[in-house]
Symmetry: C2
Subunit: 225 residues, 2 copies
DNA sequence: CTTTAATCCGAGTGCTTGTTCATCTTTTGT
DNA sequence: ACAAAAGATGAACAAGCACTCGGATTAAAG
């Protein structure tokens, strides 16, 4: 990856913005941009970051290298666009999910939320490796254009309302820390299992334990349930 | 990194074994090997995997590129040796730690173990990115020579004895899964926090919450404590 | 002191990979 | 039907990097 840095550089560096060099006006070129993005996703899911070369993107998408660079200023911008599209999609789904939670017990809500987070993590897994980890900082500095500034934020946003919703049954010394552990920490846990034994994520027992840990984090007994 | 694979290759591929090309017999060359290993660690901690080039290792260690290749068959072998040395060191410490646990309450034991794991994770963090994640599979297939086959194993080994030690107060549906979540999952959680806000790991509140989650995972009430 | 083995050196080699550019093809507007 | 704009192409370029090699330097042996 390109790695130039002069003192006059602005942050975030332009080359990681999911910005197209020019707007594809004809349907032909719009299709090309889509094909490139999809090829990128396909390669990342199949071979990870190491397998993602422009030559291979060209090969899989059927779009010539030169054509790719007609629209994308550089390789990272391809991943950035893919990332943006997936985040948009998933944040829609999460917003819908939140409306289904009213009236449910805390444990029940946790179950639903965690099941959703597992799904999102599986999907974002390879992208996180390729892009999010690398440009973590840029995302946190607010380059994001959608409803949430970062992937973290758009998932974390589910936790603070939840804690508020159930605040009468929660008595935890540091609610902010608890929300952080639930939003950020549990995702790390899920990811480490994902790296190791992806199948484990699908078992109900796994989800149960995750809920138990979340309740433990909120200092709530899990004795009977 | 070199990435050749022919059908006749054996597993694990020789080039990732922490094996020296020849034994450094004079003290001069032993010092060189040490300097290279330390430079490797220094660079990984400072600039991560991307910054780890042989040229830079040579520059930092003061050992010429050619000399490096006199002992190390390839770049990965440098990281492998570093990994091996750190694992040896840390596994010693963990063995010592286990002896201090007898007679303590479960919550107290968890506190001590988790505090130790946090320390080890901080140390292994960059190596995991550079090496462990990449060659995860090889490690799991038993190439390891020390008392434990993998980094996972040598930390997980602390959990099963613990669960057995306290089995009269634990009643968890799937003990194996619980041990896995405590040994592997919590480390993932710690790592994700480490990536994000390393300072958080040092607070007592963080450790408290971690203990609470572990107890939750073991289905134990954390009401009074 | 001489010979021999071990160690050190770093410019050079070959390969991978991101990016460009001059040329050719297709679409659009009139 | 024709010109102009937009799009497509892939060989060529440039930079980075892991790794080699033949000769210089230092330590050990006789």
């Amino acid at each position: 990856m390109t790695e130039k840095s002069s003192p006059s550089d602005t942050w975030p560096p332009a080359h990681i913005l999911p910005t197209l060099r020019k707007k594809p006006s004809q349907s032909r070129s719009r299709a090309a941009v889509d094909a490139v993005t999809e090829a990128c996703q396909h390669i990342l899911e199949e071979s990870g970051e190491d397998g993602l070369t422009v030559a291979r993107i060209s090969e899989i998408s059927g779009v010539a290298v030169g054509s790719i660079y007609q629209y994308f200023p550089n390789k990272d911008a391809i991943v950035a666009l893919l990332y943006e599209r997936i985040l948009d999609e998933e944040s829609q789904k999460l917003l819908l999910m939140r409306e289904t939670l009213v009236g449910l017990s805390l444990a029940h809500s946790l179950r639903i939320i965690l099941a959703n987070i597992i799904r999102v993590e599986v999907r974002l897994f390879h992208l996180c490796q390729a892009f999010h980890l690398r440009y973590h900082e840029a995302f946190h500095l607010g380059m994001w254009r959608g409803p949430y500034k970062t992937a973290s934020e758009f998932i974390d946003a589910t936790w603070l309302p939840l804690l508020r919703m159930y605040e009468h049954e929660i008595d935890v010394p540091d609610p902010e820390l608890a929300a952080y552990l639930l939003g950020k920490g549990l995702r790390g846990l899920i990811r480490s299992v994902l790296e190791d034994v992806p199948d484990k994520l699908e078992s109900q027992a796994f989800l149960n334990s995750l809920v138990a840990m979340a309740l433990g984090c909120l200092q709530i007994s899990t004795k009977k349930d």
